[in-house]
C-alpha cells in the first residue's frame, strides 16, 4: 500500500504537466461551467427583449433593450444617480481614510501599527448586514444623531440640511446623506489599506530631502507625499466605486424611493420578470468598471495593491 502511494507520488513528481492538469481541472471546470456558463447566459439576455403582451422573452437578437437604458428618462436617471453616488462615496472614503492611513504608515511604532491593523480589519470582516443595521439605530428619529443635535439645540440645522435637494430626504434614515454615510462607513477599510500600503513605500529620506531643500511641510505634503499616495487612492477607489455601483441592499433600506442600478436589476428580474432589462442594467456596472480599472491602472493602482 505504502509502496503504491509512493509510486503514484513519484509519478506525479516526474510528470509535472500531468499533475498540473490534474490540479487545474476541478477548479477550472467548476468556474468555467457553473459560474461562467450561467453568467454569460444571463448577460446575453440583454440582447433579447421582453414581449410586452405575452410577458415572455423574445429570443431574437436586438439592441432595443440596451437602448431602453438610455432612451427612457427614468432608466437614464438611475444610471446617473448610481454613478454619482459611487463617486461621492469614493471621495468621502478617501477623505476620511487618508489621515488614518497616513498616521498608520508614518507615525506609529510596530506595536501600535498592529493595533491599527486589527482595528481596520475587524470592521472590514465583520458582518455587512450587522454594520448596515447599526446605522439604522444611529440614523433613527429617536437615535443618537438626532439626540446629539437636540442636546446642542441644533435640530433646526439638521432639518435644514435634510431639506436640501439631492442631499437630504424626508428624514435622516431615508435620505441621500444617510445613504452616503452608510456606504462610506461600510467600504472605508477597503480605501485605508491600499493608501497605507502605498504610503509605507515612501521612504522617509525622500520626505527629509524635500524639507531640506526648502519646501515647507505643506508643500512637501502636496508635492511629494500626496502624489505618491495617489496609486493607493486609485486602488482603494476601485473597491469603493465598484462595491457602491452594485449594491442594492443599502439603497433599499436607507434610501429614498428613487432607484439605483442594483435595485433596478432586482426589481426587473423579480416582480417585473423582465430578465432582458435586468441583464442590460447588469452590464452597466461591468462596463463602467472595465473603464474605471483601465484608468486606475494608468495611475498605478495595481502596484499599490
Amino acid at each position: 500500500m505504502i509502496n503504491f502511494i509512493v509510486n503514484i507520488s513519484d509519478y506525479f513528481y516526474r510528470n509535472k504537466n500531468f499533475l498540473f492538469l490534474l490540479f487545474l481541472l476541478p477548479p477550472l471546470s467548476w468556474l468555467g461551467i457553473i459560474y461562467l456558463g450561467s453568467l454569460l447566459t444571463f448577460l446575453s439576455h440583454s440582447f433579447f427583449s421582453l414581449d410586452g403582451f405575452t410577458g415572455k422573452i423574445n429570443y431574437t437578437f436586438t439592441l432595443n433593450t440596451i437602448f431602453e437604458l438610455f432612451n427612457s428618462r427614468a432608466n437614464f436617471d438611475i444610471l446617473i444617480r448610481t454613478v454619482g453616488l459611487a463617486l461621492t462615496v469614493t471621495f468621502g472614503s478617501a477623505l476620511i481614510g487618508f489621515p488614518i492611513a497616513y498616521y498608520m504608515a508614518k507615525f506609529t511604532s510596530p506595536k501600535v501599527k498592529i493595533f491599527f491593523y486589527i482595528a481596520i480589519m475587524l470592521p472590514l470582516w465583520s458582518s455587512y448586514l450587522v454594520r448596515v443595521y447599526s446605522w439604522k439605530l444611529i440614523l433613527a428619529k429617536e437615535g443618537i444623531i438626532n439626540w446629539f443635535f437636540g442636546k446642542l439645540h441644533l435640530t433646526w440645522l439638521l432639518d435644514k440640511i435634510l431639506s436640501i435637494p439631492y442631499i437630504g430626504g424626508p428624514s435622516l434614515s431615508i435620505s441621500y446623506i444617510g445613504m452616503f454615510l452608510v456606504f462610506t462607513y461600510i467600504w472605508l477599510p477597503f480605501m485605508i489599506l491600499p493608501i497605507h500600503a502605498s504610503l509605507e513605500r515612501v521612504p522617509n529620506s525622500l520626505i527629509n530631502a524635500s524639507l531640506d531643500l526648502g519646501a515647507s511641510k505643506r508643500q512637501t505634503f502636496y508635492k511629494v507625499i500626496l502624489p505618491l499616495a495617489l496609486p493607493g487612492i486609485a486602488a482603494g477607489s476601485i473597491f469603493t466605486f465598484s462595491l457602491t455601483l452594485g449594491d442594492y441592499i443599502i439603497p433599499y433600506i436607507i434610501g429614498t424611493s428613487k432607484f439605483f442600478i442594483g435595485q433596478a436589476v432586482y426589481t426587473h428580474q423579480g416582480t417585473a420578470g423582465n430578465i432582458p432589462l435586468a441583464a442590460a442594467f447588469s452590464l452597466v456596472p461591468i462596463i463602467v468598471m472595465i473603464f474605471y480599472i483601465k484608468t486606475a491602472k494608468k495611475l498605478g493602482a495595481f502596484d499599490a495593491l
Binding site: 502511494i5 509512493v6 503514484i8 507520488s9 513519484d10 490540479f23 487545474l24 476541478p26 477548479p27 477550472l28 467548476w30 468556474l31 459560474y35 461562467l36 450561467s38 453568467l39 447566459t41 444571463f42 439576455h45 476620511i96 481614510g97 489621515p99 488614518i100 497616513y102 498616521y103 507615525f107 486589527i118 482595528a119 470582516w125 465583520s126 458582518s127 455587512y128 448586514l129 450587522v130 448596515v132 443595521y133 447599526s134 439604522k136 439605530l137 444611529i138 433613527a140 429617536e142 437615535g143 462607513y185 472605508l188 477599510p189 527629509n208 524639507l211 511641510k217 465598484s242 462595491l243 452594485g246 442594492y248 441592499i249 433599499y252 442594483g262 436589476v265 447588469s282 456596472p285 461591468i286
Partner: protein, 270 residues
C-alpha cells in the same frame, strides 16, 4: 528643519482618531442597544438596561434553526472552497502559460462582480436546468466566491516557499510522498487554515447571492435582512446582531493571530 518621524501634527492625529471612531462606534452602539429595555423604538440613550433579551433569544427555535443552517452551509462551502482554491493555487503559482491571466481573472471574478449579478445568473441557470432550490444550491453559490480567499492565501504562501526546501528534503533521502506529506503540507497548513477561516466568515455572512439561490430556507443573514426591511422584533435583532459580531470576530482574530509571524498577514486578510 528636520522631518520628525515620531511627531504627527495635531490635525493628523485628530483625523486618525475621528476615522477610527467612525469605524468602531456603530458596532459598539449595537452592543449597547442589546441591553436596552426599550422594545418599540431605537431610543438613545436607552431608558434602562436589562439582560432579558438574551434569555428570550436563547429560547427562539427559528433563530437557532437559521444559525444551524448558516453553519452547515458555511462549513460545507468552506471545505469545497479549500479543495478547489488550493488546487488552483498549486496549479497556477509558478507556471507561466498562455491564458494564465484569464484563469486568474476567472477566479477573482465571482467576488469582483456585484453579488446581485452572480446571484441572478446562478438563479436563472438553476431554473433553466430544472434544479429545485435547496441547501445545495446555496452551497454551490457560496463555494464559488469563497474559492478566491483560499486561493489568495495559498498562492501567497507557495510563492514564499523556497523550492530549495523540496530539493533539500529529497537530497536528504525523503521520497516524493514523504516530501509532500512532511514538508509541503505542513508548510501550507496554516495558509489553508487561515484562508478557510476567512472563507467561513465570508459564507456565514453572505446575503445577496443567498437571496437568489435559496428557496424557502432562512439562513441567519436572510433572517437579519427581513428584520432590517421590516423591523418587528427590535430587541431580538439587537441580540442576534451581537451574536453575529462575536461569531465573525473569532475566525478573523484567529486568522490574523496565525499569520502574525509571517509577512503574508497582509495578504491573508485581503
Amino acid at each position: 528643519m528636520r522631518y520628525n518621524i515620531n511627531k504627527a501634527s495635531w490635525n493628523l492625529k485628530i483625523g486618525a482618531i475621528v476615522g477610527l471612531l467612525f469605524l468602531h462606534i456603530p458596532l459598539l452602539l449595537i452592543i449597547l442597544y442589546a441591553f436596552t429595555t426599550e422594545d418599540k423604538s431605537y431610543q438613545f440613550p436607552p431608558p434602562g438596561y436589562t439582560l432579558k433579551w438574551f434569555k428570550i433569544v436563547l429560547g427562539r427555535e427559528d433563530i437557532w434553526q437559521a444559525v444551524g443552517l448558516s453553519l452547515r452551509i458555511a462549513i460545507i462551502s468552506t471545505l469545497m472552497a479549500i479543495i478547489l482554491g488550493t488546487l488552483a493555487a498549486a496549479a497556477l503559482f509558478k507556471k507561466n502559460f498562455f491564458g494564465k491571466e484569464s484563469i486568474t481573472l476567472l477566479i477573482i471574478l465571482p467576488i469582483a462582480l456585484p453579488g446581485i449579478i452572480t446571484g441572478i445568473s446562478l438563479r436563472s441557470a438553476y431554473s433553466v436546468a430544472g434544479i429545485p432550490f435547496s441547501t445545495l444550491t446555496i452551497i454551490i453559490g457560496h463555494a464559488t466566491f469563497c474559492m478566491v480567499v483560499v486561493y489568495n492565501n495559498v498562492v501567497a504562501r507557495l510563492r514564499r516557499t523556497s523550492p530549495n526546501l523540496v530539493q533539500a528534503s529529497m537530497d536528504l533521502g525523503a521520497n516524493s510522498f514523504q516530501t509532500f506529506y512532511f514538508v509541503i503540507l505542513p508548510n501550507l497548513g496554516s495558509a489553508i487554515l487561515a484562508g478557510g477561516m476567512l472563507a467561513f466568515a465570508l459564507s456565514f455572512d453572505e446575503v445577496i447571492v443567498t437571496t437568489f439561490t435559496a428557496g424557502q430556507q432562512t439562513t441567519l443573514p436572510i433572517w437579519m435582512l427581513n428584520e432590517l426591511i421590516r423591523p418587528r422584533q427590535r430587541p431580538i435583532t439587537n441580540v442576534v446582531a451581537v451574536f453575529i459580531i462575536c461569531i465573525t470576530f473569532i475566525p478573523i482574530l484567529y486568522a490574523s493571530y496565525m499569520t502574525r509571524n509571517t509577512s503574508d498577514a497582509q495578504d491573508s486578510l485581503k
